[in-house]
Each structure stands twice: as C-alpha cells, then as structure tokens.
C-alpha cells in the first residue's frame, strides 16, 4: 500500500473511531430530546458526574462491576429526582424555558459532582490498554488504537441495546408513543412521568459509559463535561431525534474533523477542531435543515 494512502486511511479510521465516542455523548441528548422535546444542556455535567462518581468508587477499592452498578443506581436516582423536582413543575412550558432549566441543572450538577468528590484529575483504568492493534499494524502498516476499537464495540452494543429497548415490549412501545406525541400518549394512559424518569435514567447510563471511556482517555476532571460541546454538531448533523443520526453524524464529524486537522489545519494555523465540526454540521444543515435523519419539519399556519 502506498505511504500516502496508508496515512490517509489511518487518519480516516482514527477519525471514525473517535467519532463513535462523540456519538456516545450525542446519544444521551437524543434519548431525552426524543422523549420529552428537551434539549438537555446538562448532558455534559451528567457525564462528568457519572465519571467522577465511578472513578472515586474505583479508587476506594470497590470491585469494578459493583462500582459500575452503584454509579448506575445513583444516576437512576438522579434521574428520578430531576423528573420529580424539575421537569414535573415545568411541564407544558415553552421549550426554551426547559432548555434554560437544564443549563441551571448543568451548573448544579457540576457543583455537586466537584463538591461531593473533588476537582482533582483522577485516572480511570477500565482495563483496556491504549496500544496499537498489532495484527493490523503488521498486515497493512496502519496504526489503529485498540482502545478506540473497544470503545466502538461498547458503543455499538449500547446502541443495539437501546434500539431493542425502544422497539420491544410495553416500555418500548410507551417510549415511542411519548416520543411521538406527549399529550396523545398521556391521554391513552401512558404514565408520562415514569417514561421521562426512565429516559433520563437511560441518558444517565449513556453518560456513565461515555464518561468512563472519555475518562480513561482524558482523565476524569472538569474538562470532561466539555465533550458535550463536541457532541452538539453531531447532534444537529444527525438530527435531534434520531439514534441512527447520532451514530452516522458522529462518524461523519469524527472523520471530517481528523482529516481537516491533518490536511487543512497546518495551512490556516491549527487548533481548528474547536469549530470545524460546527462548520461541517452547518453546511449539512443548509441542505437538510432538520439534520440527516431528523423528522421533517412541516410548517402550517
């Protein structure tokens, strides 16, 4: 394989795999938006909260799976509290009010996470080594991080699980009904509050997985909550209410970002990853204003 092509492929694959990590965060947004029409700005703080809790439990010497279970339990409790205290009184308010409330929640969770634990950098070891994949390296001379591959596998499993959860059974049907129309769902007797709590808990699970994976990569600290900002272009590119969109959007953004960093970055001064993803997403939006897989916006007077 020619050197140039191998390099290109390496960048592309690294981009796609890191895109999966973005998808993971975007997924949390999509779940909540689908079910309640709330653009949950606090997703980043939830990621931080979950990752910090998990990391601190591990540091206390608690068994890996047990720590994960406790953290998940805490996220579920958190979801129930959020639903009870914040969402229920705000039901039927304009979406921008709910959006602002989640920004308030964002501050609250950031303070809570760092107040209960601390704001030091914590190493998080999931037992997956961040080394090149040797057999691929030998065969094609392309460097692929094994950690990225594992992250992609975990993310894939999570998506399949969530998709199954959304499609099958009573809860799945109720979830889809609520996603379709809150009030209609309520009028046929679906417990809206319960569904919202479930969805926020699911978003909490996604936050935990995303937080753990990002935590091993970056260290668990405040800046981990900023990955949520990375996920926003993924979100608008894929469409706010599509799980598939979050995945495809993540892949596109991840690949475009890495390629741009390598091929365009040096020309215009570097550090472009902060906004390049947004540019890509906006170009897509000019063609499809509802994102790739978002529901078509039909406007009537």
């Amino acid at each position: 394989m020619p050197e140039e092509l191998a390099w290109f492929l390496e960048v592309l694959i690294a981009g796609l795999l890191s895109g999966v990590m973005y998808s993971l965060v975007a997924l949390g947004f999509v779940l909540i938006f689908k079910a309640s029409g709330v653009f949950n700005f606090a997703q980043g703080a939830m990621v931080l909260f979950a990752a910090l809790t998990f990391a601190r439990f591990l540091e206390m010497g608690i068994n890996f799976w047990f720590a994960a279970a406790i953290t998940l339990f805490i996220m579920v409790v958190l979801a129930v509290i959020i639903e009870r205290v914040m969402l229920r009184p705000l039901v039927a308010q304009p979406v921008i009010i709910l959006f602002m409330a989640t920004i308030g929640l964002n501050y609250f969770l950031e303070g809570l996470a760092q107040g209960v634990w601390d704001s030091q950098v914590h190493a998080l070891d999931l037992g997956i080594e961040d080394v090149p994949w040797q057999s691929v390296m030998d065969a094609t001379n392309i460097l692929i991080s094994l950690f990225d591959v594992w992250a992609a596998v975990i993310c894939g499993a999570l998506v399949v699980m969530l998709a199954y959860f959304f499609q099958k059974g009573r809860i799945g049907r109720a979830l889809r009904a609520v996603a379709d129309d809150n009030q209609a769902a309520m009028s046929v007797g679906i417990p809206l509050q319960l569904i919202w709590a479930i969805v926020w808990a699911a978003a909490g699970l996604v936050a935990l997985v995303a937080g753990a994976l990002w935590g091993q990569r970056l260290g668990v600290q405040f800046s981990i909550s900023l990955v949520a900002l990375k996920a926003l272009p993924v979100l608008i590119l894929g469409g706010f209410n599509s799980i598939a969109g979050a995945i495809i959007g993540g892949l596109i953004i991840g690949a475009a970002e890495k390629l741009a960093e390598v091929y365009i970055g040096p020309i215009i001064g570097g550090g472009i990853e902060a906004w390049f993803a947004y540019l890509v997403a906006m170009l897509f939006l000019m063609v499809r204003p509802q994102g790739l897989f978002g529901e078509k916006i039909i406007e009537r007077v």
Binding site: V95, M100, L105, G111, G115, L229, Y278, L279, L285, M286
Partner: protein, 355 residues
C-alpha cells in the same frame, strides 16, 4: 392608592403613544434618572461603582441586544459572547489603527462591525430554525474564540494575546477615573435603552414579534422574513458589540479573548430569561440579578462558614446554589421578573379591590 391613573386623560394620539402612558411611570423613570445621574456619583463609593454598577450597566446593554434577537424576534442564540468579542476587538483596533477617530466613532464603529458579523451569522436563520439554529450560533462562538486566540494581528501583535486598551478622551476631556467611565457607560445605557424601546414599538419591532410568534404566518401577511430576521441579528449584534467594547474599555480595561467565552453567552441568556423575554425592563432586572447573585452568594458563603471551609468547596456550593436558584425561578415564574413586576403593578392599580 398612589399608582392609579384616574384623572389622566389622553387627548391626542401622541399622548396615547407615549413611552410611559401612565404619569406615575414617567415620574418613576425621572427619579431613576436623577438617582443615576446625580445621587450615585455624589454618594456611591468607588467599590460600588466598579464592583456593581459598571458591570450591571454593561451587561444590561448586552442583555437588551440578546432580548431583541431572542425575546422579540424569537431566534435563540448561544453566540452573543462572540459579538461582544467582535465589538471589543473592533473597538481596540479602530482606536489604535485610526488615531483620529473620535471616541464615539470608535464605539459606534465597533457596534457596526459586530452588526455586520451578526448578519453573516444570522444568514442561515431563514433555513435553520429553533435549536438547530441555536447550535449553529455556537459555531460563531467557537470560531470567534479561535480567531482571537490564534491571530496576534487583532491585538497589535502582542505575544500574550492580551492587551491593555488605549486611553480614552471624549471631546478633549480625558476619561480616566471610575466616575468618568461611569458617566460614559451611563450615557450609552440611556441612548441604547431609548433606541431599543422605540425600535420594539415601531414597525420593525412589530415585524420581529410577528416572526417570533409564527414566521410562516408572518410571511403570509406580507412581512419579509429574511429582512426581519437579519435586521434582528444586526441590531442585536450592534448592541452586543457596544457592550463588548464598553466591557473592554471601561470595565476590565484590557482586550482578552478569554473574557467572551461560551459562558458569557449563557450568562446573557440567563439574564433575559430571568428578567423576562420580550421586555426591556426585564433586561435590567435580569442583569441586576445575575450580576448581584454571585456576589451575594460569595458574601453569604463567607459569613456562614466563617472562612473555615476551603474556597474550592465554596465555589462548588455557589455553583449549586446558582443553578438551583435558576431552576427555582423558572419553576416559580417562567416569564421572568418583568412579569412579576407587571403583576404587582396590576394589583396596585386595583388596590384595595381584588378585581
């Protein structure tokens, strides 16, 4: 009892269209102005002016800008900080590169440059709507942060990327003391508030509100959506640009790319939500609330803990309280402090009868 309009008759259309149709409101405004122009400079301490009043007034201008865009024209924006940054950097470059430009020209020029940027950022708004647009405006936010952090040209080549603002003088009178700065900012507050108040009562303001309530319907009755949305973006960014320039020149006295990050945009958004969307008074109430609240929390935390607790924990508790109060306020009064004020006035007019 005091606040009652009986006996006030309007005999001309002009009287009916006045900014303050009720005489008590007019007196209230005159009193406020007298306090701001005479009493405050006479009695307020330096600390009061620099610590509270300057930021309050500057954030009020920024909040008016965002309220025009989000509260009146209905276009949610998370990129207001970017326009403030553009204003601050434009003002610096205008002042340094064109030494003959008078001070007012510098500020207005900064506003106009910010307005031009606003039109560019707002141009997708015809096609992209709602939260998609909000996220798209984030692009402006991150792009501006990157531009001002990357290219030293904007700070005249300073390696630290932070530079002090040049001295100001207005009509030959040097603006040096905090009081001078106070008067300069106060002048801008009065002019921009009057401008904004009259804009939203005029044809363009009504067009903005029509677009906010339903843009397709507004288009059907003959309002040009592109012009209306872009004019909202332009006016909003103009205000933001002036606020940013004042922030840099009169308040922190330096141009710094970290001063206008995403959290600035969110802060201004908080101000208009807490204060009241679609209300000029709300901008001031919201700005006051958001400026004072962290200071109060800080003072309260120090008094309650007596300096025993680590400052880190106090910061976190402040964050929690801030977030919690925001959520609480939204639950109690989603329409903001301005609505509370309006309700109180309504009650006063009918007092002592309930209806």
């Amino acid at each position: 009892m005091l606040y009652r309009e009986s006996g006030q008759f309007k005999t001309s259309y002009k009287a009916d269209m006045a900014i303050f149709p009720i005489r008590q409101d007019l007196w209230g405004m005159i009193t406020t102005l007298i306090v701001a122009v005479v009493i405050v400079p006479l009695f307020a301490s330096e600390h009061m002016i620099v610590g509270y009043l300057l930021p309050f007034m500057i954030w009020s201008i920024a909040a008016i800008g965002l309220n025009i865009l989000t509260g009146y024209a209905g276009q949610l924006s998370l990129g207001h900080g970017a326009f403030m940054a553009v204003g601050a950097y434009s003002a610096y470059n205008l002042a340094v590169r064109i030494p003959d430009l008078p001070l007012l020209g510098v500020f207005i020029g900064a506003g106009l440059i910010a307005a031009a940027c606003g039109v560019v950022v707002g141009s997708p708004s015809l096609r992209i709507k709602g939260f998609y647009l909000a996220v798209a405006t984030l692009a402006a936010q991150f792009f501006s942060e990157w531009v001002f952090a990357t290219f030293p040209w904007f700070v005249g080549g300073a390696a630290s990327m932070v530079i002090d603002t040049p001295r100001m003088s207005l009509f030959g009178y040097p603006i040096e003391s905090n009081l001078d700065n106070y008067f300069l900012v106060l002048g801008f507050v009065i002019v921009t508030t009057l401008l904004a108040k009259n804009l939203v009562r005029s044809e363009i303001g009504r067009a903005w509100m029509a677009v906010r309530d339903m843009d397709v319907a507004a288009e059907v009755i003959g309002i040009r959506p592109l012009y209306t949305k872009l004019s909202a973006f332009a006016v909003s960014s103009f205000f933001a640009g002036i606020a940013g320039a004042l922030y840099a020149f009169c308040y922190v006295k330096s141009v710094d790319f970290t001063a206008f990050d995403l959290f600035v945009s969110l802060k201004v958004l908080f101000m208009i939500i807490i204060g009241g969307m679609g209300s000029i008074l709300g901008c001031f109430l919201g700005a006051g609330f958001i400026v004072i609240l962290p200071i109060l929390l800080n003072v309260a935390a120090h008094h309650l803990t007596g300096g025993q607790v680590s400052p880190e924990l106090i910061t976190n508790i402040e964050h929690m309280t801030f977030g919690g109060l925001i959520v609480y306020f939204l639950i109690v009064e989603p329409h903001g402090l301005a609505r509370m004020w309006a309700t109180a006035k309504e009650k006063l007019r009918l007092w002592p009868f309930p209806h």
